[in-house]
């Protein structure tokens, strides 16, 4: 079955084409789809793409930064407005992957490749679809987009983003797991913690038990210890060639504790 690749001048036209053939796949930077094509993945019959320059735009206004869907990891790593996301973008792939991999593409990356998606989720980012709908990235990560993600709106974190990618390869390699955490403080206490674990299941997900252990408390040893103990609660990681499920459950709390201790 030959593959058909259809290019459209604008994201609106691409979205209309996707609507008429829902089984088609939308092309971002290619790091996911080309890999599948190179393996002759039979589920891919039609690819829709656009080089719409609007998808490469980055703008910052009113406490948030809007990243076009096709903004690359390399652009995020180097732009002044996304300095808070640079530590995440920098540890994704090597330079070649970062010059292709996109912000929106990472929302659809299979575990354990969702490092950037985890960070967006921890920051409470939302996705704007080509039809103008705006939905939390959490929904896109959990359920897909049913449309084309045109941009991602990321609130600039007042209290910084904590991020740790755990890999067994130096200087870097694929994630065993990664942790992204945003811990807003109010009068010295954590209020509205968002902690996201990537690689602990098919999609990045909130570590609700660890969040509950921190909320309403100052970020000190006892609260951190409690959060670390319950870090893997609610997660069902898989055995894979990178690590066993047991190992992931064991080390999730250790790395969360180190990350939080470093932020005190």
């Amino acid at each position: 079955m030959p593959i058909a690749v259809d290019a459209f001048p604008t994201v609106g036209e691409a979205a209309a084409a996707l609507l008429s053939t829902p089984q088609a796949r939308f092309f971002g930077g290619g790091t996911i789809l080309m890999r599948a094509l190179n393996e002759a993945d039979p589920s891919i019959e039609r690819i829709i793409r656009t080089a719409d320059p609007a998808l490469r735009e980055m703008r910052s206004a009113g406490g948030s930064v809007t990243l076009g869907a096709h903004v690359t990891m390399a652009a995020v790593a180097h732009h002044r407005d996304t300095a808070f996301l640079a530590p995440v973008a920098r540890v994704i792939g090597g330079p070649q992957v970062r010059s292709a991999a996109t912000v929106a593409g990472n929302l659809f990356a299979a575990a354990p490749y969702g490092d950037f998606a985890a960070a967006l989720m921890a920051l409470g980012a939302s996705a704007e679809l080509a039809d103008g709908r705006r939905i939390p990235v959490d929904d896109v990560i959990r359920n897909g987009a049913r449309g084309i993600v045109a941009s991602v709106i990321v609130p600039i974190p007042r209290d910084g983003l904590l991020f740790k990618k755990v890999s067994r390869v130096r200087p870097k390699g694929v994630s065993v797991l990664s942790i992204a955490a945003h811990l807003p403080r109010q009068s010295g206490r954590v209020n509205g913690a968002r902690i996201v674990l990537n690689g602990m299941g098919p999609r990045p997900a909130r570590a609700s038990a660890a969040e509950a252990a921190l909320n309403g408390r100052p970020l000190e040893s006892s609260a951190i210890e409690r959060a670390a103990q319950v870090a893997a609660e609610g997660f069902a990681p898989q055995d894979d060639p990178i690590a066993t499920a047991w190992y992931r459950r064991e080390v999730a709390g250790v790395h969360l504790r180190r990350l939080l201790e470093g932020a005190r």
Partner: protein, 159 residues
């Protein structure tokens, strides 16, 4: 299968070629253009053997949809040497940086991109620049030595 015409600049030379839907740039470079210097390693974006520069930036040609290269400048190892080896290639030779040689083309292109952007890199900069290229023979040290050597032996720009 649909054939799409594209125009690329391949190592400074303009070429008009046809690509197929879904074909990757590595395949086009090797089969259509006849440039065998980018290597087919994993086709997964893991090994870096197919690294080429697109408009000066390192990309994995195996993960690049060929039609998206339309209008762009592609550089490969075939364009590095002009009659004699480039200083970077010469440094690779002097430092014994290739054993089987399969990764070397990709290593050279990643290092070339680094040295153009940062002519005086630290050792850490070099490690970072080649972090997307796997070598199963050398243990990397000889490759890092070569890139540092090339940077140090390049004429210093006064400024």
């Amino acid at each position: 299968m649909a054939r799409k015409p594209i125009e690329i600049t391949h190592n400074g030379e303009e070429k008009a070629i046809f690509v197929a839907d879904g074909q990757n740039l590595l395949d086009v470079l090797r089969r259509t253009v006849g440039d065998l210097t980018p290597k087919y390693g994993c086709a997964q974006g893991t090994c870096g053997a197919c690294t080429v520069l697109i408009d000066g930036t390192p990309h994995l040609s195996c993960l690049t949809l060929a039609e998206t290269a339309n209008g762009r400048a592609i550089e490969t190892v075939a364009g590095l040497a002009g009659g004699e080896l480039s200083p970077l290639q010469d440094a690779f030779m002097r430092n014994f940086s290739a054993q089987c040689g399969y990764c070397t083309g990709g290593m050279l292109m990643s290092a070339e991109a680094l040295l153009r952007a940062n002519p005086r890199p630290t050792r850490e900069d070099v490690v970072e620049a080649i972090s997307g290229n796997l070598c199963r023979c050398t243990g990397y040290e000889a490759i890092i030595d070569a890139v540092m050597d090339a940077a140090q032996s390049a004429p210093r720009r006064m400024g």
